[in-house]
């Protein structure tokens, strides 16, 4: 990895600084511009939602933050505060749970990569599985459980390593409406207890409002940050109260109009 430029990287309270990041994928004879000139700061300890229509580059931006992809232009700087903890962990859009490992071993795998002993890793894994209501399924193989459970395994796997930065790509998108509500509450509860920095990709306005401190709204391809919205709800949040509040409806309308403008060709 190339050394980072020194300018302004140490700004107080900033966890990730995305500066003029562009990403171009080669596609056939031409190329696809997935991201254009993205600039964004993620604050230390905040829950930032990335909201945008599908295909606008949310996954791409998240993958660059996860160091799985390098930008075609610009730079991303991330502050790693505690070298004893991993900088980031990812919950992938398609779960990416290993079908050949039991649910417990799926969660243990990244723990062992941090150098943790097997017995300790097992204890930590079981703790997080219990947190996500997966107690009793430790020895099951992922393909024998439902999609919602697999997704919870993926979340437990990411949370278990206690990363400074949790990157989640539409982790609840594939779930049915009821399960989704329950897991939103669960995530809210877990985050309120642990407060790592979270970047959470979603295409649901409600979800972004419920979970986020701020919402970065992305425009259609090539992805840009159209606007960043502060979510005014106090924490700890209670999903039912928030959904019932008039502010919620107003903000939701505002964001929806914003998004609709992005989706309609000028």
């Amino acid at each position: 990895m190339s050394p980072l430029p020194a300018d302004g990287a140490a700004e107080a309270g900033v966890k990730i600084a995305v500066r003029k990041v562009g990403k171009v994928f080669p596609a056939g004879t031409g190329s696809v511009q997935a991201l254009a000139d993205i600039s964004l700061e993620v604050r230390d300890g905040e829950f930032l939602c990335l909201l945008g229509p599908s295909g606008c580059g949310k996954t791409t931006l998240l993958r660059v933050m996860a160091q799985l992809e390098r930008p075609s232009s610009g730079v991303i700087e991330m502050r790693h505060d505690d070298p004893s903890r991993p900088l980031s962990a990812v919950v992938f859009q398609d779960y990416s749970v290993f079908p050949w490992k039991t649910i417990r071993d799926n969660v243990i795998f990244p723990l062992l990569q941090t150098g943790m002993r097997k017995a300790e890793a097992r204890r930590v894994a079981d703790h997080w599985l219990a947190q996500l209501d997966l107690g009793g399924f430790e020895r099951a193989y992922p393909d024998t459980v439902s999609g919602g459970m697999k997704q919870r395994v993926a979340i437990a796997r990411a949370l278990a390593v206690q990363p400074e930065l949790l990157l989640m790509d539409e982790p609840l998108a594939a779930l049915d409406a009821q399960l989704r509500l329950l897991l939103q509450e669960k995530l809210l509860e877990l985050w309120q207890a642990h407060q790592n920095t979270v970047v959470f990709v979603t295409h649901s306005i409600d979800e972004a409002l419920l979970l986020g401190d701020r919402i970065a709204v992305m425009s259609a391809r090539p992805g840009r940050i159209a606007t960043v919205i502060d979510v005014p709800f106090a924490r700890p949040r209670h999903p039912d109260e928030i959904r019932a509040s008039p502010d919620f409806a107003a903000l939701r309308d505002e964001i929806w109009h914003r998004l609709r403008r992005e989706l309609q060709p000028a």
Binding site: A66, Q67, L68, P86, S88, A89, V90, F92, D94, S96, F98, P99, W100, K101, F109, P110, L112, Q113, T114, Y141, P142, D143, V161
Partner: protein, 288 residues
């Protein structure tokens, strides 16, 4: 239009209101699922056993009645008797041991080295692009065609025959393993990378298990080929083994022995295939 009853469990009945109602009710399979499954299993297994028994019985009738030329198609009882003689004289055991030994040693050497190399070549891109065309070309060479070359180099001893089996298995398993490794979904690799997994951990925990099912399929194909190829080699270049037994009984004009050899070779093939299915069951518990 007349309503059609598609299933024994459904029935249509005209009612007083002039409309036709279709009622869907449990059938025998639903009323007694366990008993139904058990009876069906018994019937199916019975048929599977009965069919070959009937065929052999028919063969016996035709052969002893003189309809079948006994020089070509000796009666099953004649074959069984000469099987007993071959066992008594020890020729049979010697043949089986000779063939099985060549198959097992050649198979293990060829397949295991291919799995290791395949994992390596499959996961190192530069190696793969460098070697894949060559491997594909060598794979297409019918291995029996190089037996004379092996005989020339290694002589008539065991080495040439074992090597032939090993080479045959090697390329099949190698191609399948490389293919399996390059087919591993990159999303699993992403999990490894974002977890900071080392190369070794990635190989051990991601590449190997993800590639295992197809690798074992390659190993099963190889086991069948190993049997075929050793028989071919023993026809021309051995003085023991089941292939030799078949070939030699043609020379000696003892067709019964030929059948003993042929049946035994098939049985070895079936056992090998069953062993590999067992291995697959053991090694890929998530697919059970």
């Amino acid at each position: 239009m007349t309503p059609v009853t598609r299933d024994p469990g459904t029935a249509t009945t005209p009612r007083a209101d002039g409309a036709t109602w279709r009622s869907i009710t449990p059938g025998p399979a639903e009323l007694d699922p366990r008993g139904y499954a058990r009876r069906r299993g018994l019937v199916e297994r019975g048929l599977a056993i009965l069919a070959p028994v009937v065929l052999i019985g028919l063969w016996q009738l035709l052969a002893s009645g003189g309809t079948l030329e006994s020089n070509y198609f000796p009666a099953p009882t004649t074959i069984a008797a000469s099987w007993g003689e071959l066992i008594e004289s020890g020729v049979y055991q010697e043949s089986v041991v000779a063939s099985v030994q060549r198959i097992v040693i050649g198979y293990l050497a060829g397949s295991l080295s291919a799995v290791v190399l395949g994992l390596l070549i499959g996961s190192v891109r530069l190696l793969r692009v460098a070697l894949e065309p060559t491997i594909a070309a060598l794979y297409t060479v019918p291995k029996l065609a190089i037996l004379p070359l092996l005989l020339l180099i290694f002589g008539l001893g065991e080495t040439s025959k074992i090597l032939l089996v090993a080479l045959t298995c090697f390329f099949v398993v190698l191609i399948n393993t490389i293919d399996a490794v390059s087919g591993v979904s990159p999303r699993y690799g992403d999990v490894g990378r974002s977890s900071g997994a080392s190369r070794w951990a990635t190989l051990r925990h991601i590449t190997l298990p993800a590639a295992l099912p197809q690798t074992i399929t390659g190993m099963r194909i190889a086991s069948g080929l190993a049997v075929i190829v050793i028989v071919g080699a023993e026809f021309v270049a051995a003085d023991a083994g089941l292939g030799f037994l078949v070939w030699n009984s043609w020379n000696l004009g003892v067709p019964e022995h030929m059948y003993v050899g042929i049946v035994s070779i098939s049985v070895i093939g079936v056992i090998a295939s069953m062993l590999l299915r067992g291995l697959e069951w053991l090694l890929t518990p998530w697919n059970r």
